[in-house]
């Protein structure tokens, strides 16, 4: 192995030959990411084309920034961008905040069996799809049969048309996000708490610190690296193309057009432009816009995290 350094002048070919078994094992994965990740990256050029699916990328006309001009002319893009950013900020703060509290409280429960049961139940929604989430939510919000309107009715309150009142969705969506994800974050935090040495708590106990003070002064700061990673990952997902977790925005409101102002985000907007209108120009321009904003967001949050704690940064 050590000899490899001395023979640095050997050409690429002899490295490939020497470790040919490794490179053969690498080949399917490498080819795959080139095909499925890098070719689509090059494919963003269609945002500058009047793309014709029959002629393909080579045959379509180049139109410069026309698609972008067209896109930014409508108010919709601004609206969905704002929605995307605001919802994700709310998700980030409430999701991580609730999870931190939940993890600390679960850890304070002496009864192992109960603590384990709570963890299991909290994590279960994480494994369900948003399509299933749509069904679960519908059983509560259905106008004529839903549990919530029945409950309101028993207090003499008029039934609410949940699927046509945008106002409520600004709270329903964050609640749904928390319902699905808090268990996931909490389990990560719980593992982090388990890794904190008990000496800190014993010392604090001797100094007369209350449980609450211990949580604020020891647990929360010690969990900071995990919090930073979660923030970074979530910030990246915010604008992460079609492959982030946007199913909730598409499924939960059940395609109710009245709600779009409150529920539409960039992904649903792109998806609908492509799927229902077949508008390649618009949706690819919006897609490139989204990818670029996402890229910048990751760089910014990474830079901030780097300032705070070098080791937690992604690069």
């Amino acid at each position: 192995m050590q000899g490899a350094k001395a023979r640095r002048t050997i050409p690429v070919l002899s490295e490939l030959l020497k470790n040919r078994v490794f490179y053969l094992m690498m080949l399917p994965g490498l080819l795959y990411i080139i095909i499925m990740y890098y070719i689509p990256m090059a494919g963003v050029v269609i945002a500058f084309q009047q793309f014709n699916p029959f002629k393909g990328i080579g045959g379509s006309k180049w139109i410069g920034f026309e698609n972008f001009k067209f896109m930014f002319q409508s108010d919709t893009v601004l609206q969905v961008t704002l929605n995307t950013i605001l919802y994700n900020l709310v998700f980030l703060v409430t999701g991580i905040g609730f999870a931190l509290i939940a993890a600390i409280l679960i850890n304070s429960i002496g009864n192992r069996l109960l603590a384990g049961a709570y963890k299991s139940i909290l994590l279960l929604p994480y494994l369900l799809s948003w399509v299933v989430g749509e069904y679960l939510l519908f059983s509560f919000l259905s106008m004529d049969k839903g549990i919530l309107n029945q409950l309101l009715g028993s207090f003499g309150i008029e039934p609410v048309q949940w699927y046509s009142e945008p106002f409520y969705w600004r709270f329903i969506l964050p609640a749904a996000y928390i319902w699905k994800n808090v268990g996931y974050f909490a389990v990560i935090y719980a593992a982090g708490i388990a890794g904190i040495s008990s000496e800190y708590y014993e010392a604090a106990e001797l100094d007369g610190a209350t449980k609450f003070q211990q949580a604020i002064r020891i647990t929360v700061p010690m969990l900071m690296p995990i919090t930073l990673i979660l923030v970074l990952l979530q910030a990246g997902k915010m604008f992460f193309g079609a492959f982030g977790d946007w199913g909730m925005f598409y499924n939960l409101p059940m395609q109710s057009g009245v709600l779009y102002g409150a529920t539409d985000v960039i992904d649903t907007y792109i998806y609908r432009s492509l799927k229902q209108m077949g508008d390649f120009g618009m949706s690819s321009a919006a897609g490139l816009y989204q990818s670029l904003v996402g890229f910048v967001l990751v760089l910014i949050s990474n830079a901030i995290i780097r300032l705070y704690d070098r080791d937690s940064a992604l690069f």
Partner: protein, 290 residues
């Protein structure tokens, strides 16, 4: 000191019980609707326990050649095939990136990480799969887009790095080829990480509605989640599709809809107690990944 402590414990426990109830009650309602008489739903609305018990919805769904059974088969096949292929390709890929003797591992690792930062977006992805790879409306398209994920490769690579070099070195001295070492030695040593990733990927394939929604038109290839979504939404573009119209016309509507949902969730909930610890382990692995 004692009594106040137990009061705070009581409050914490009560809080968690309420939250747990909130997690479980929606599932109970859907379950209850699926076991109710259609008539009782129409009269009294949804409830946590069935007002009038009936198995009609399940009899309908499971009796005979309904689209739901077909979607079940498609989903099971995609989940198994997708998970196996994902594991094979990604684990070999990750292993080569973990070995010091592979000189170009840094460049390739960078290529993997960069996919996390930037992506081409939905449209080029769609055009690639449909126009250039000609995978639209094939079973394979349900699997192919998700065979390698950067995050999973990085998690596996970090796990493989933790395997002591001496073990691999000694296998080499015993005359084992590199591939043989990987299959016979590294894979068995890595079952915790492989099992966890298999579970995550499996759940992903099971829950995937998106791929079918955008790349499948042939109703023989509908996945369970997509069928579920179509039944619920009855979206405009699906009208005129005889299969979905059949469902709309012939189902014991509400109860069967919810029964389909129960069948889609069922396998996950039933397997959950056994698989849970792998999930927890995997989440922890992901967290210390950086």
């Amino acid at each position: 000191m004692r009594p106040s402590l137990s009061i705070s414990k009581l409050v914490v426990n009560a809080g968690f019980m309420i939250y747990s109830a909130l997690c479980i009650i929606p599932m109970l309602v859907v379950l209850s609707i699926s076991f109710s008489k259609e008539q009782s739903i129409f009269q009294g609305g949804y409830s946590i326990l069935p007002r009038a018990f009936s198995l009609k919805a399940y009899e309908y769904i499971l009796g005979g050649n309904t689209p739901i059974l077909h979607a079940y088969l498609v989903t099971i096949a995609a989940t198994i095939a997708g998970t196996v292929l994902h594991l094979i390709i990604s684990s070999m890929f990750a292993y080569t990136l973990s070995r010091n003797e592979v000189k170009y591992r840094h460049i390739v690792s960078f290529l993997v990480v960069f996919c996390l930062l930037f992506n081409g977006g939905l449209v080029p992805w769609y055009i690639l799969l449909s126009k250039y790879l000609h995978l639209k409306d094939t079973f394979f398209v349900l699997i192919f887009p998700y065979l390698v994920s950067s995050v999973n490769v990085l998690i596996m690579r970090n796990f493989f790095k933790g395997i002591p070099d001496e073990i691999i070195e000694s296998a080499r001295i015993d005359g084992s080829g590199e591939f043989n070492t990987f299959v016979k030695l590294v894979v068995p040593l890595s079952t915790p990480v492989l099992a966890t990733i298999a579970l995550f990927v499996g759940v992903f394939f099971w829950n995937d509605w998106f791929t079918a929604a955008i790349l499948i038109e042939n109703n023989k290839l509908y996945t369970l989640q997509f069928l579920l979504q179509s039944i619920m939404n009855n979206i405009a573009y699906l009208q005129g599709n005889s299969l979905v119209e059949d469902i709309a016309a012939n189902l014991p509507d509400e109860t069967a809809r919810m029964a389909t949902c129960v069948l889609a969730v069922g396998p996950i909930v039933i397997a959950y107690p056994y698989l849970q610890r792998y999930f927890v382990k995997g989440l922890t692995l992901g967290a210390v990944k950086s």
